[in-house]
Every structure is written in structure tokens, then in C-alpha cells.
């Protein structure tokens, strides 16, 4: 029997629930050399800013137990370059395109949203949770009030579904998710990275030139699954779950906990075919349970 893998996230029809997470898939070009990127449900592109950004000094990555820290710092060619030079390539493929955006000020977020609303993308993901840049961005994401303010403002310019990406570095992610929902977000995605630091005891300096970085990978999975569970109980809008997904069963954990779709991040960097393997794993799981639609498993966790 064919499994219906498609999911509908606030009006975006994805052919399957697996989306490449922002910052780990570039604009799709590199992975296209290894896999057929048409097989993905969607691609959240590398975080875009209004103007091109250099990013942080290297080293920008440090390995930690079952995880990694990154401090890339939103290096990107800017939203205009993206629309002119990268989007056409992505649009030759069938995966939904999500524009992940970050700004120093609310005005910048609004301006980018206005620009992208006229571009051929499927949704906008508001990155208010990047721990690697000095100004703006995560500053908006750590309080419900900050989330409310920015979401409301941006929403006025958004002609595309608006996904708010939440940071895990908060006391209550249910509260920030609820704030996003009431302020008009069409979906939430979580988690962005946990702020961390790794120290080189030989040099007695942080490994990363930026000193701190964002933790991702398998290490964060239990925290991410818990947060997705909390958020999906709290909000009615769709929830996109991520954090350490490497295989189908990892993704299934998030879906059982309430995720309507998942994003795969770090795994893409290590296994170029990670998204495809994750998708096959979900399908296998759904088939084994005897369900006909991937969406059927969402939220079907039974608590003890």
C-alpha cells in the first residue's frame, strides 16, 4: 500500500514532512551534487539578511560529545542576491522553499518580509533565535513580549505563511510559542541551537573564534523532543520539530510528540543523503503501524 507522505503546514503542501534545516543545506546546490533534492519536502535556506554578511571569524565549528557548536554567524549574500541568483535554481526543483531571515532591527525583518513576499517562495521563517550574532535576532526571541512585537510587525508585511523559529534558551518555550501564535504566526519551528562553549585546554581559549556557539546534533535531541511536546500541547498552529534528527526513528519521536513536519540539520553536513534516509525511515514506520498517512502519527504519543 502506498503511504501518503504529504503534509500540509499552514497552507504549504509538502510532499513529505522532511525539510532541510536552515544553515545546513546552503541553497541546495551542494547537496544536489549528491542527492535528488526533489525528494525533499522542503528546504529552509541559509539564514538571509537584508545586506550581505561576512559572518564570524574562523574557527566556526567545534565538535562536542554527540554534538557540534557552530558560530558561522549568518554569512550570506543577502536577500536580493538570493532572489536573483539562488532562488531560480531552487525553483527548478519541487521541494518547498522556505526563506529563513534574520535582522538587526524589526524594520529589517519587515523590509525583508516585504521583499520576499513578492518572491516565488513558499514561506518565511523568522529566525529570532540565532545565538551567533551580536545585534538583534535572538534578542527578539527570548521573551514572549519580544516575540509578540516582532511577529505582529512582520505579519503586517507577510503575504506568505509566517513560521517563527524559536530558541531553546528560554525558561518556557511554551510561552514564546504561545506568544508567536497569538501575534499571528502561521506555524512555529523549533529548536534552534542551544548556546554553548567549548574550551581548548591546550591554548586555554575557546575553540571558536567567536567564543560561544550554537549546539546542535544528537546531543540536543531529548531537549528538543521535550520542547516540541510542550509547544504542540500549547498551540494550535502547526509545529515543525528539529534537533538531532539523524534517522527515521528520530523524526518519528518528534512527530509522535506533536510535530507536523521535521527539519534535519546537522545530519545533512555529515550524511548528504540524511533527509532522504529520514524520509524513508518515517515511511517505513508508518507502514509498519498500518497507517496510510504520515500525518496520522503526529501527536499520537501516549503519556505514561
Amino acid at each position: 500500500m502506498d503511504i501518503d507522505m504529504s503534509v500540509d503546514i499552514c497552507g504549504i503542501k509538502l510532499k513529505n514532512p522532511v525539510i532541510a534545516a536552515s544553515g545546513t543545506f546552503g541553497f541546495g546546490r551542494e547537496h544536489a551534487g549528491f542527492i535528488d533534492i526533489n525528494k525533499l519536502g522542503g528546504i529552509s535556506v541559509k539564514g538571509l539578511t537584508l545586506k550581505p554578511r561576512m559572518g564570524n571569524r574562523p574557527p566556526r565549528v567545534a565538535e562536542t560529545p554527540a554534538g557540534m557548536l557552530n558560530s558561522v554567524g549568518l554569512q550570506n549574500p543577502g536577500v536580493h542576491y538570493f532572489i536573483e541568483n539562488e532562488l531560480p535554481f531552487l525553483r527548478q526543483h519541487t521541494a518547498a522553499v522556505i526563506a529563513n531571515i534574520a535582522g538587526n532591527t524589526i524594520d529589517e525583518y519587515c523590509e525583508m518580509t516585504e521583499i520576499l513576499s513578492d518572491a516565488d517562495i513558499d514561506a518565511i521563517e523568522l529566525n529570532v533565535s540565532c545565538p551567533n550574532v551580536r545585534e538583534g535576532c535572538i534578542a527578539f526571541g527570548t521573551t514572549p513580549a519580544g516575540i509578540t512585537e516582532i511577529t505582529q510587525q512582520v505579519k503586517r508585511y507577510a503575504k506568505k505563511p509566517l513560521i517563527v523559529k524559536l530558541t531553546p534558551n528560554v525558561s518556557s518555550i511554551a510561552d514564546t510559542a504561545a506568544a508567536a501564535e497569538s501575534a499571528g504566526a502561521d506555524a512555529v519551528s523549533l529548536i534552534n541551537t542551544l548556546l554553548g562553549m567549548a574550551i581548548d585546554v591546550e591554548t586555554r581559549r575557546p575553540v571558536l573564534a567567536n567564543n560561544t556557539g550554537g549546539l546542535s546534533g544528537p546531543a540536543v535531541k531529548p531537549v528538543a523532543v521535550r520542547m516540541v511536546y510542550e509547544v504542540s500541547r500549547t498551540v494550535k498552529i502547526p509545529v515543525i520539530g528539529m534537533g538531532g534528527i539523524f534517522c527515521g526513528n528520530d523524526a518519528v519521536e518528534f512527530m509522535l510528540a506533536g510535530a507536523d513536519a521535521v527539519m534535519v540539520g546537522t545530519a545533512n553536513m555529515i550524511y548528504p543523503d540524511a533527509c532522504i534516509k529520514v524520509c524513508m525511515g518515517i515511511e517505513q514506520y508508518v507502514r509498519k503501524l498500518g497507517y496510510s498517512r504520515a500525518a496520522d502519527i503526529t501527536g499520537s504519543l501516549e503519556m505514561n
Binding site: T24, E30, F34, K46, G217
Partner: protein
Amino acid sequence: MSKHMTNIITGIAEIAEGIFRMRISSGYISANAKPGQFVNIKCCEGNDALLRRPISICSVDRPGDTYDIVFQKKGGGTGMLAGKKPGDRIDVLGPLGNSFDTGARHRRIAVVGGGIGVFPLLFVLDDSRAIVRRSYLGFRTSKLVVLENEFRFRSSSLEIATDDGSYGTKGFAPDILRRDISVEDFDMIYACGPEPMLRKVSQLAGEHNIECQISLEQRMGCGFGTCLACACKTANGEDGWKYSHVCKDGPVFNSRSIIFD
């Protein structure tokens, strides 16, 4: 084009203290790899070495469908690699990165390597059609001197320096290069090694107006251009700079384009 493959190890030997040469079976890599390129290896199945480890391709045996890597056991990842046995499988992405230009127009070359930077230079010599080929290799100490014969066979001359003078000349490879550079009329210098060495070689090349290609190292996330982790500063227009990426724009750069901090 690089591929994601499972390769089989056909041989492994410790060729100096903590330095291993590994022979790996892959028709694809041996046929397609160019000098300066690297493979990115998942050193274990689980999460203990989560990220892949970039290792240069040291030589290829095209008829034999194998390639060799040489690596120093440094931390967890290379430690696991060192424990592999012939017959074991490894998960490899490669060949990755750009390559040294070993075009036939380069007739008089110098090859300057330091430490683990010497390994990719062997492949340069294999591919080069230069007539004069002088090799300058630097190591910390005599126990770490490796591939001496391999370099000797492929070079017109070979100079070895050790930091502590326990083998060859006491000092650094670029210092020996400095001695020869004004008389040898090189038309290309290939260099790979620690940053201070590359800086010196680049400077020398600049002073003598000799073309120079250097291979850089940087901590990598993916190794194939998607994560933007492996940034290095390169010249951009008049006095400007930008971040290029070692895994994709490099690892080989024209020495003039690199901005050393």
C-alpha cells in the same frame, strides 16, 4: 564530482611514531582525484566522532584502484582511524576541494611541506611534469620524519629540516628554500603545512615574484561547501577582503589571494 561511498581499507601501517599510511580501495577516487584534493571520513559509525575528518589524498594507484592517505593520530577521530584493519569499511566523501595546478608549463618547481602538510605534496610530484623539482620538508623532530624515500625518488633534490636539528638541517623548511630561491629560478612553488610556514613561503614567493600555491587547513563542518564553517580570508578587490571557504574554494589558493591575520 565528489561521491558518498563506502570504501574498503586494504592496508594500514604505522610509518613513523603516531603516523599511519592507509591504503583504501576505490576505483572512483583513484581515477578522479587530483593532487591537493581530500577525502572527508566518518571515522566511526556512532556519534563519538560526529563530524567527518578531512584527510588529504597522498597518492593514487590508478591501475590498482586504490588511493593512499597518511595521517597523524591526533585526537579521537584519527585515533579510531588508526585502529582500523584491512578489510574494514569506511564511509567516505570525496574527492573534495580544488587542486594544485600541476600544468605542464611549470618546469622548475619547489615543493615545501611542513609536518602533516607534506602528505598531499607527494601527489603533486607524481602529477607534475617539471624537470627541476626541489623538495623542502620540515618536521618537528627526527622521529616524525616520514616518506623520505618517496619524496627522494620523485625529486631532483630533497632537503629535510627538523626544528630540533635531530635530523637533516636544524631549522625550518622555508629557510632552506630562501637559500635556493634566488639561484634556482623556480616557476612554481607548492606549499602545505602550518600557517607560519605558509606565511613565510608566501612572502618569499612574493619577494621573488614566483607563482605560489598553498594548501590551507581549517576546522570543517561538512567538507563540501554547505555549512560555511571553513572560512579563510581572501583578497577582494583593492584592499578589500572576503571569506572564502577552504573546502570548496580551496584547499589550494594562490598565495597572493590569502590574507594572513
